[in-house]
Symmetry: C2
Subunit: 330 residues, 2 copies
Amino acid sequence: MLVLVAGSTRTARIEGISAAGAAPSLLAHTPGADLEIVTYGKVVWGSVVPVSPSGCPTPAVVTRAARELQGCQVVAVDAGMAGPTAAPTLELARQPGRDVREVRAVPEAEAIFETARSFGESLPDRRVWIGETTPGGTTTALGVLSALGERAAVSSSMADNPLALKERVVEEGLAASDLGPGGAAGDPVAALEAVGDPVLAVVAGLLAGARTTGTPVTLAGGTQLAAAAALARHAGVEGSVSLATTVFVDEDPSASIRELAADLDLSLTVTDPEFDRAGDPALSAYPDGEAKEGVGMGGMLARVDDSGLSMAALRKQVSAVTDRLETDRE
Amino acid sequence: MLVLVAGSTRTARIEGISAAGAAPSLLAHTPGADLEIVTYGKVVWGSVVPVSPSGCPTPAVVTRAARELQGCQVVAVDAGMAGPTAAPTLELARQPGRDVREVRAVPEAEAIFETARSFGESLPDRRVWIGETTPGGTTTALGVLSALGERAAVSSSMADNPLALKERVVEEGLAASDLGPGGAAGDPVAALEAVGDPVLAVVAGLLAGARTTGTPVTLAGGTQLAAAAALARHAGVEGSVSLATTVFVDEDPSASIRELAADLDLSLTVTDPEFDRAGDPALSAYPDGEAKEGVGMGGMLARVDDSGLSMAALRKQVSAVTDRLETDRE
């Protein structure tokens, strides 16, 4: 079962911070459209397929392609989505996160975390994958890692990670909450309230709940999922947790994903879909450093790989999904 | 893809009208628990597995068992649910239906029908099954059939169908809306407003939309699904529509399902899971006339049958699902 947590943070509206949409005005629609692509293989209520400003398609097409190849139940969670979706969702947070530079970015962090933990405890006990779609989410991840005193490493959906901007925003966010780096160590709710987003609260809660009942969890993503794992570790969650990400995150020096995984005792899987061999111009943006990860992509690639299917088959299916989306758009 | 439409009508609160719950106070929880059983194989936020007053388990266990045997994507639709659910849902109606004896049972019928039609048009074009879970829904089905001037036949989740009570309630409902039998012929929205429920509005809209774009539809259920088909026919929907139901509905003389299907030009499939051969006391209530159908059961049985799996395998899986639910309860 893949639990896809979709939400938003007003932090994404800061100019230059997110590429999860062709234009800033479309960012609010990206999580909803991502869920529609994974659920239906098409965009339903939005008319726009999420692409980066340069046209790189959303990782949702990769997750959809993986589902079409081998089937995978998806449970979509609304963790404060700012736009509509035709995908069925379970609402675990009502409001988008605020700009982290406000005093409290997620005032309801504790309630969201506890609701998600309770739901995580009741998940069936077969393996659960958890992914996310959150424009602006790498900045809140950086914020949470900083507040907890963990390695302040973070990836980006852009080829050129606007790291200095993210660091400045996080610094302002921590200052607005009277916190310094490490000031919320051992207090994940405080970190979430100050500089997090509702998606991180939900993912951390789900992970904590699922581990309580022994459900094996693979976090399917990059630094945002690692930040959620950090929150869970600071909430006292022990034992085995897996992180499955893409080679694009692994090759991003600003992500330091291997070091993050080691710090947090996460067993790391890195999968390379070899998109440079796809011959599909849309996919060549990935090896150039765009998009990189999201919507459960890293976990779904690992799952395809584990099942013995080839990455060539996956690439072919990704192209088929992309072609169908293009046709729908025309 | 199985679209499961869950909702409620206050008509279910009329004493003696529904058996979709062990006690009247639990009826509001039945649709949510049904969706949880189909989605997760267990009851999550409700603590109670829906059973009839005599202990017959909900048809949701049959649909779940069929999914476990052969996989089937489920899209759950909230069509005015009165209770909570941990299953992800797409909300197409906000309010439970009112008691049909009020002037207007579904004041927003037109908007609900049109929203569902629009969603139905955008469904992927592979085969779609549509099922429902609606305590009290056979009474609203009788109401709609009467208002349209169609055969006033209807089944029940009870072994003894309280037909006289249902007829009296419908008569009062039509009178309250200044309608006689057949008074809403050709005007499905008027029938829904007067004596329908939001689930019927959604199912009829989905069917109309899906047929517009050529998506093959199988209505998975009994007289409630037939009533939705009648609404769609009166909305001008032509062409092929399938109805897949259980032998328990077929053997119910008050349902007249063959005649209804013929009237409405529905190609009928009847499947017998041979629960009398199950050796499972919980299932023996079905051949005795309880539950009969619901939560997509008839369609899922037909799908299992089509795939070449045996009904013995299905029965074994149903018992396994039931056992797991029992264990969770203890």
